[in-house]
């Protein structure tokens, strides 16, 4: 077996592991990071499959821009959480009183 074949198999296994691992992450931030690593692995696989233009796009869009957009969305959710917490503190309620409290737990 040639060396590239071994590398290919390792990368494909890593791809499947990444895809499954997204489901078992504890926080959304970890999920985003695993997703970005999935895109990076996919980028290398595109290069090995001799389509470098797709590799460039995957690296820029999959690992870069969509990850950045996810992180920004997470930050927005986080500031939403902060706001809710502030409201809760202002109204003197505990977290458990709120239905759906901690639903968007991102920390």
């Amino acid at each position: 077996m040639a060396l590239t074949d071994v590398v290919k198999i390792i990368l494909l296994v890593l791809l499947v592991v990444c895809a499954i691992a997204v489901n078992f992450t504890k926080t959304l931030l970890q999920a985003v990071i695993v997703f970005m690593s999935y895109s990076s692995v996919m980028c290398i696989i595109w290069v090995l499959m001799e389509s470098p233009d797709l590799a460039i796009t995957e690296a820029a869009v999959g690992a870069g821009i969509s990850g950045v957009l996810f992180l920004l969305t997470l930050r927005r959710i986080r500031s939403e959480d902060d706001r809710r917490e502030e409201e809760r503190r202002a109204s003197g309620k505990s977290d458990k009183d709120e239905p759906g409290g901690g639903k968007f737990e991102s920390r």
Partner: protein, 340 residues
């Protein structure tokens, strides 16, 4: 700072809030005051200027409104909450349906994949078109990169649709997230504008600033290289455009929003996107209406391998690249603060 119609009130009242006065109007007091005022020994302006107790705090109002909105939303959820037994039954049904639909989807997809022609096997559906592309692609399109020749000449209509999908997505995101002083949906959005100031001091970090100064020009040069060499090598409009969009995003993170806004504002990005799409549509529409190779006859193909070759492919590549870059940048800006 937020500029609303109640701006004056707002600022004055944030002052009151700092002082910690109670902001409730006391109705019984009011009537007594009215009588005093009639008698002449009460000055209504005195209380306002001293911010004693007559002015209601707009900040407090905003908070109250927020609380109301949140409680309304939550109450809507809780009133629709089912009884416990029903809930358990619903959970069971939900899980069963989820598993069944998931398995169904997997089955349908696997079945469809099984119907695809086998990879690399000679079959007439997949070879006739490919043969035409490989054999006469260079003469017909003038592009060494057959992929660029296919996506921007033979199948240019697809690429046009993709660019429009991107543009539509940008419009939708703008509709959802745009919140400037003209169209604030709720008052509590000023919460974000207050928070953003704290969150967005990335550009004051020296390391990020310096690294950005070194990286951003390189990224731009690489993006332009990929964009302009779409017909000669791997790359093209979408790849080059996304690289340039990433460069714009890194620039915004490194140098700060204001500087990049002076370089290219979100509005300018929208205009560039629109003009590029319009150019693409008109150029390709002309070709479609005048027959397959209509416009290509007027544009010299050039020597294959040079940058100025490939006829219409290079301008279309640039148009697609501009659309992609500006769309990414616009996305980032809209997601970044929810404001334009």
């Amino acid at each position: 700072m937020l500029r609303t119609t109640s701006n004056h009130l707002y600022e004055r009242c944030s002052y009151c809030a700092k002082k910690g006065h109670s902001m409730r109007l006391r109705m019984s007091n009011k009537f007594a005051k009215f009588r005093n005022w009639l008698a002449g020994d009460y000055d209504p302006l005195k209380n306002v200027l001293d911010t004693d107790e007559t002015v209601s705090d707009s900040r407090e109002e905003i908070k109250k409104e927020n609380r109301k909105i949140i409680s309304e939303v939550d109450a809507e959820g809780s009133t629709r909450r089912l009884e416990k037994a029903e809930q358990r039954g619903f959970d069971l049904v939900y899980r069963v349906i989820a598993i069944v639909s998931c398995l169904l989807l997997i089955g349908v997809l696997l079945f469809t994949v099984a119907l695809l022609p086998r990879y690399g096997v000679e079959n007439p559906e997949s070879t006739t078109v490919v043969k035409r592309y490989v054999e006469s692609g260079l003469q017909e399109t003038g592009a060494i990169n057959i992929v660029a020749g296919i996506i921007l000449d033979y199948r240019a209509f697809d690429t046009l649709g993709e660019s429009h999908v991107l543009f539509t997505a940008l419009i939708c995101v703008t509709i959802l997230l745009r919140a400037d002083s003209k169209n604030l949906r709720t008052k509590y959005e000023d919460f974000y504008t207050i928070k953003q100031v704290k969150y967005h001091d990335l550009n004051k970090d020296k390391i990020i600033n310096r690294v950005g100064m070194i990286l951003v020009p390189c990224i731009f040069v690489f993006g332009i290289y990929v964009l302009l060499n779409g017909q000669n090598g791997p790359g093209g409009g979408f790849s080059g455009g996304s690289v340039m969009g990433a460069g714009l995003i890194i620039g915004t993170a490194a140098f700060g929003y204001e500087k990049m806004d002076r370089f290219i504002s979100t509005k300018t990005a929208m205009w560039i996107t629109f003009i590029s799409l319009a150019f693409y549509s008109f150029a390709k529409g002309y070709v479609f209406f005048t027959g397959a190779n209509g416009l290509d006859n007027h544009i010299p193909k050039g020597i294959p391998g040079a940058i100025l070759s490939g006829g219409l492919i290079l301008p279309l590549d640039i148009a697609v690249g501009m659309v992609v870059a500006c769309t990414m940048y616009g996305f980032y800006n809209l997601f970044r603060r929810g404001r334009t």
